[in-house]
Amino acid sequence: MSASAAARLIDAQLDGPVLTVDATVSRPLFGVTELWTYHELLYFLTVRDLKVRYKQTALGVIWIVMQPLLFTLVFTIFLGHVARVDSGGIPYPVFAYAALLPWSFFSSAVANGAGSLVGSAHLITKVYFPRLVIPTAAVAARLVDVAISLALLGVMMVWYRIAPTRNLFMIPPLLAVTGLLALALGTWLSAVNVRYRDVGVMVPVMLQVWMFVSPVVYSSRSVPAKWHALYILNPLVGLIENFRTAVFGGAFDWPAFTVSVVCAVALLLEAARMFRATERGFADVI
């Protein structure tokens, strides 16, 4: 490069963006502009997660549907036929699958998110980018599973001759809130996990318990009416039961859905606050 070109580059440097880091100044809550600068990294990390997950597996992407299908099969045999859980006249397999779809999305996204930061320690200690990208990518990777699971749901609805109603319009907002709730929880847990590795042990247990206090294998109508108000405090009740309603028709439980939305937003704010507060120390502690 010639001397004048070098001089031009130096001029350009002084006009360029200015970055100031001050130990005494705290950061904005979300840092949306900065996150946007790194949206391609978010994309590539999401794609990496998807590609790597089923590399060197014989069945590949079939695993995405295998898991909910196997659960559906087991639940149908033991809960549908042996225990005869009341499914309100809906064939039990599709009854269970319609709940397993949002539940699997939620639980796998939370588990994936919670372990994401610790799993990316090699990145965190070597290069800078907004750390929020990591749990977000981990949760986003599960959105693809949802698309595939939805296609299978369509097949089952045809098979069991379930007529679609206009209730279907609620599926996108329900999945969006489920995703936000999973993002909030996954982000929060991932930050705690950096310091307390207990999280890695706790999450599977927590999710198992959570599945049985949510209307996945049974209908929320099986819960006595006097407990209903307490029951819907579990934000997944409003998402899973209403997802069923969206598929099979009927009246939505709006109070339960409201609880879910409020929970998702509140948790997201808290997760962002907590993440921001601890983010500074990640590289030193992880």
């Binding site: 580059l9 440097q13 963006p17 880091v21 130990a23 990496r48 965190i124 070597k126």
Partner: protein
């Protein structure tokens, strides 16, 4: 002119020792909360713990860098060089102070960050590029150049886990070196690898410097810093002790010629053999240690039981722990080694003059009974000595500290 990098009162502290900040597991957290201590007592203990275990890795760092400068950051291990680079790269947060950077930043603390073994070369180029902060169209534009520079054209769609380590390193470096930025932070870990790879790294960095980019280069290889940088800052135990042109820093950082004799006294070994003394000393007439002096390595030991198959040897290591030589005292014939009776034993090795280049060397002992056991296989009794090239051959084109850590070829070859 406004500096491109300005660092003011920057500091970083870590807490070390038994109590590392808050409890690390929840059980610890709960057991702490319910312990039966008065609140004031607990607070006093916490304050005491905080003050006694706080370590300042960096303290009160102030400096400016002008656009286009190539600055070496020098200092010994633990002086805070890498911490400073990590803070400026925003990986780690400062505890106090502030800094300002003008322009796009590229930070190479490691090559191949984020490479995933299951992904193909192509996929890793895009992923790694994004991690380093490149835009997708930039990567796409430079893709062919990255691949051809790394010489992996035929394997670009093969998972990198099937790559040889050389291919892997070349590809990783090739991506990193395409990064366009005004400010470049480089850690010397980059210069690990074979000689050809190091040369490529250095050539790329020199090109960056000539193109008017601002470079901060952390290293404790003074030869590399002298070759590449025009300015330098020196750190010592977290404090900035020098900022100015590179020659001044070299003089400051490099130790004066070591003591004329390095000695270890003690006792190491087992019930059969006890080493009581080891040493390295100069055999030059004036007794000083330099590259033109023959160096004697010696060991004194007590044999306590009659032993057979005795191995008495040492490794000569460079300051990067490269093994330069392995020496045994009785390796000359194939006859069965004799039975050694109890008693005192002294052995000496002589490294001829003008054999080792300037640098710091370590003698690490390896004693044992062949096929039976190790007696010493570690740091016990090891010696570290430093040679400068102040006399003898090898001084025409390099400074006394230059051409580090290598053996010179013996210079008495006939040249026609």
């Amino acid at each position: 002119m406004q500096p491109i990098i300005r660092v003011e009162e920057l500091g970083k502290s870590y807490r070390i020792g038994e109590r590392q900040g808050p409890p690390r597991s929840l059980r610890e957290l709960f057991s702490e909360r319910v312990s039966f201590r008065s609140r004031s007592e607990r607070r006093a203990r916490a304050a005491q713990a905080a003050s006694s275990t706080e370590l300042w890795a960096l303290r009160d760092i102030n400096f400016d860098v002008q656009a286009g400068d190539v600055v070496g950051i020098v200092g010994r291990n633990g002086s805070g060089k890498s911490t400073l680079l990590k803070i400026l790269s925003r990986i780690s947060e400062p505890t106090c102070g502030r800094f300002q950077l003008r322009g796009r930043i590229a930070s190479l603390l490691e090559v191949g960050t984020g490479f995933h073994p299951e992904l193909t070369g192509r996929e890793n180029i895009y992923l790694n590029g994004a991690i380093l902060g490149m835009r997708r169209e930039e990567i796409a534009r430079d893709f062919d150049e990255i691949v051809s520079f790394a010489e992996v054209e035929r394997f670009v769609d093969t998972p990198v886990k099937h790559y040889s380590s050389g291919m892997y390193m070349r590809l990783a470096f090739s991506v990193a070196s395409q990064l366009e930025s005004e400010i470049l932070f480089v850690d010397e870990v980059l210069a690990v690898g074979d000689a050809a790879f190091q040369k490529k790294c250095m050539a790329r960095m020199r090109a960056a410097a000539h193109a008017g980019r601002t470079v901060l280069f952390v290293s404790h290889n003074m030869a590399a810093v002298t070759a590449l940088c025009d300015k330098a800052i020196a750190l010592q135990q977290g404090a900035l002790i020098y900022s100015g042109d590179v020659d001044g820093a070299v003089g400051l950082y490099d130790v004066p010629a070591g003591p004329d004799m390095v000695e270890w006294n003690g006792s190491a070994g087992d019930e059969d053999v006890q080493v009581v003394r080891t040493w390295a000393r100069s055999l030059a007439a004036d007794g000083t240690m330099h590259t033109a002096a023959a160096i004697e390595i010696g060991v004194e030991l007590d044999v306590l039981q009659p032993i057979e198959q005795f191995i008495l040897s040492f490794w000569l290591l460079s300051s990067y722990d490269y093994e330069l030589a392995y020496c045994r005292y009785d390796d000359n014939d194939n006859s069965k080694p004799p039975l050694i009776p109890p008693g005192r034993m002294v052995k000496r090795w002589i490294i001829p003059a003008d054999t080792l280049g300037a640098g710091t060397y370590t003698v690490r002992w390896a004693l044992g009974l062949h096929m039976i056991k190790h007696i010493i296989n570690g740091p016990e009794g090891s010696l570290t000595f430093t040679l400068q090239n102040t006399q003898g051959v090898g001084r025409r084109f390099v400074s006394p500290q230059g051409r580090g850590f290598v053996s010179l070829l013996r210079p008495n070859w006939e040249v026609r």
